[in-house]
């Protein structure tokens, strides 16, 4: 357990509404990531952060924004949710150095956009 908490665990929302998912870590890791998992696509990177206020896009960033105002919290926002954003969202932190690094994942948020 790398001290990662995702909230909420489940969310049902309507198309066009804003949604924010929260990732909280307790171990002061610099790098945090948001992935989505979809059948046939595996895990795809949405956005990641390499420090407070330092973020960058991943391969599927359209329709998503992120913020990191504190080391421990990384927020993922869907400004106007669409049905294509129905997915399981995972937050991860990176631990280790050099070629000994690895990602540790939270338990995920199941998001359904109706």
């Amino acid at each position: 357990d790398a001290g990662i908490t995702q909230s909420p665990r489940h969310k049902v929302t309507e198309t066009g509404t804003p949604v924010t998912l929260r990732c909280h870590q307790t171990e002061n890791h610099r790098y945090m990531y948001w992935y989505r998992q979809d059948p046939g696509h595996g895990l795809r990177l949405i956005h990641y952060s390499y420090g407070v206020k330092d973020t960058d896009k991943g391969e599927v960033s359209d329709g998503y924004s992120v913020s990191r105002s504190k080391t421990e919290d990384f927020l993922l926002t869907l400004e106007s949710a669409t049905s294509s954003q129905t997915s399981v969202y995972f937050c991860a932190i990176r631990s280790g150095t050099g070629r000994n690094e690895k990602l540790f994942f939270g338990s995920g948020t199941q998001l359904s956009v109706l």
Binding site: Y31, L43, R44, Y48, R99, E101, K102, G106, S107, G108
Partner: protein, 113 residues
């Protein structure tokens, strides 16, 4: 375009036998590879990794083999146990290229008692 590919969506193996999960990659800059295991309703958990300076890494029942010329890696589980039934993802990264980890589409392993 998927840079890491797992071409077998599913695999069934008898308990006690060997499970072999395969992964291919296209980016020759990748130099570090990982395997993750995922149970339903849980986040992926790290299983084993290998650096490109090695061609094999072993941890208990799990061994990862890397063939750089073929851009191929495989995970061997010996002997397979029913608790190994899960989805397995391979992942890759390239040193100094944006700190990103690229994941495959996953292989669902079922170990039959």
């Amino acid at each position: 375009d998927q840079q890491v590919k797992q071409n077998s969506p599913s695999l069934s193996v008898q308990e006690g036998r060997i499970s072999i999960l395969n992964c291919d990659y296209t980016n020759s800059m990748f130099d570090y590879f990982l395997w993750y295991k995922k149970y339903p309703a849980e986040g992926p958990t790290f299983l084993i990794s290998i650096s490109s300076i090695k061609d094999k890494n072993e941890d208990g029942r799990f061994t990862v083999f890397l063939n750089k010329s073929a851009k191929h890696l495989s995970l061997h589980i010996v002997p397979s146990q029913p608790g190994d039934s899960a989805v397995y993802f391979c992942a890759a990264s390239a040193w100094g290229t944006g700190n990103q980890f690229y994941f495959g589409t996953g292989t669902s392993l079922t170990v039959i008692p």
